[in-house]
Amino acid sequence: MAFSQHNLGTVIAFEFMRTIKKKGFVVATLAIPVVLVVVFALIFASNSSTEASADAQKNSAIAFTYTDASGVIPPQMAQAAGGKSASDPDAALAAVKDGSSEAYFAYPAEPASQPVKVYGADKGVFENGKYEAVAKQVLNAAAQAQVGNPQLTAALSGGVDFESETYRDGKVSGGFGSVIPPMLFLILFYVAMILLSNQMLNSTLEEKENRVTEMILTTLNPTTPITGKIISLFAVGLVQMLVFLAPVAAGYLFFRDSLALPDMDLSILVFEPGPILVGALLLLGGFTLFTGVLVAIGAIMPTAKEAGTIFGPLMAAMFIPFYAYSLIISDPKSLIVQVFTYFPLTAPVTAMLRNGFGTLTGVEAGIVIAELFIVGILILRLAVHLFRYGSIEYGKKLSIVGTFRRSELAAK
């Protein structure tokens, strides 16, 4: 037993170290934080120039002409903003076209149903926005003057916040704040699979392609290398996530204002134990299932290239539930959603989505979790079997049935 544990530790250390020492891994892992740092730097520089531009725009007045068919614009208000009433719309437009006037606004007879026409001298995409801003500001000020009540003006312009509270079983339900925490498991699942799936696929292929299987199988119980590889891959994935998150966390903690990152109010999150537990179990079950499938494919296929033909469709199965995203949320009892909920390859994502939005019942959650773990463990056992009896089939695609009846093994 001690010898097995010693070997498991040796396998984990070897697999972990040789993965993180690979140039490709280092480049790919470091590329993302480097890109993030570059993006943050660009945002920082952009924010500085944007602020300067905004200040300049705010302080610069434009001289414009206007016509007001509605009669809602008080002349003195327009004049205060730099406007001058025009009597001939065509002449005012012609003046803008020939450059003798900076801008011309044509307020229609019914602004509620007709657009306000804004004409201006071209000053670039960013600068051109100020014409519409000024036209809108004049109209808003005119409306507020007519209503005579700032609260009503705010209500009319959609500037009022609403706070909802709903109840379930006599208690305040979490609302959208309770959706986010369980959905984090879905994000973790996707991140883990995107980062690790290719390495899972190649983990047993490598022994086969390198013709090292017999040396391994006569030194280790076949469960040990598979288990060691999975644990090391998990550790590798954690390292990658930490490296990816480091610049984001540093940026958020130390440069939030400079980078104009939103100040997240974490108090809105509601951590409900049930959905959190179900989400965690679905994540573990889904990870077990996909790991088993990928390792088994690696044991069956002779080369990484050929394994890729199966790998693509398999990964697509993870994203298929998103095509029925709205149906999963709005009509969880529909046939297609039920199929996605219980079909092993689509079950993790579908169930995690439903768990997040609160439509996965306790019974359904229990069935799906049990299914994922049972099928996942069975497939992992199959993967170990295929590794033991199939991975010496160097250069050949393996028949799964053949490994059981030993009919495909080449005689020597």
């Binding site: 396998v11 040789r18 017999e214 040396m215 006569t218 009919s407 093994l409 005689a411 020597k412």
Partner: protein
Amino acid sequence: MTLGDAAEPLVHIQDFRMNFGDKTVIKDLSFDVRAGETFGFLGSNGSGKTTTLRALLGIYQPTAGTLHIGGKAFEPRDGARLGYLPEERGLYKKEAVLDVMVYFGRLKGLSKAGARSWSQDYLERVGLADKATARLDKLSGGQQQKVQLGATIMNDPELLILDEPTKGFDPVNQRLLMDIIEEQKLAGATVIMVTHQMEEVERLCDRVILLKDGTARAYGTVSEVQEEFGGTVYRVTYEGILPASALYDVVTDTGGRAELAPRAGATEAGVLRELVEAGVAVRSFTTARVSLEEIFIQVYGEQQMAEVQ
């Protein structure tokens, strides 16, 4: 862990049968390998040698029969000191030589420092000290094989199983390899060797088995097998033409050099007299045992011999 009782055979194979689908590859094969001996496992390509070794090591499941090492079916988890050099060579090609050797040393129960120290000494000996940090795929095929042999023997194995160990080696490195195997033998290891190098088998092996079409065609000490297949031969260098005779069969004749297998009742003097009386100018006449190579040719035929060479 030590492998079994010294009084019992270290390897015991009894009524081993192996089917691949409808095809029977091994037919009720039985033999023993005793502790401390060097055992030659001989046979043409496709005769079932590697299949037998894989079944012995648990890589294949036998259709029927008993295959024991140290009194029980082999399990890696038992921690027996076994060294196996498979016919299909390969290690982790993208890793450094020393890293791979240390890895296998650790798996075989050595400490990290012990595995590193042993590996460095071994690489020095086989002329690869300067390749310790090089990736395996940067080495030649022969150099990679030396590394794999090192990974095979670094746990000082009690049982060393070598499947065509000289394959891919030049004569100089074949000599080096055989020296290393001989050292293992002298250190007390039991060695099972699949090879087509008959001279080395005669030099190193205590006992042999010849496998043909999945059955044992011959089994015993080298002398016993030689005796079974004709016992002695007369090696003659001569001028003239060898006559047909009732006293001998011509085993080989290259025109000036021949091996004659005496028939029952024939004597050295009788054969020599007949040659001289037939006008053959005999330059030398010696008695020798029939070589394993000649036995191999007898058993497998000229065509298969050409195939294995």
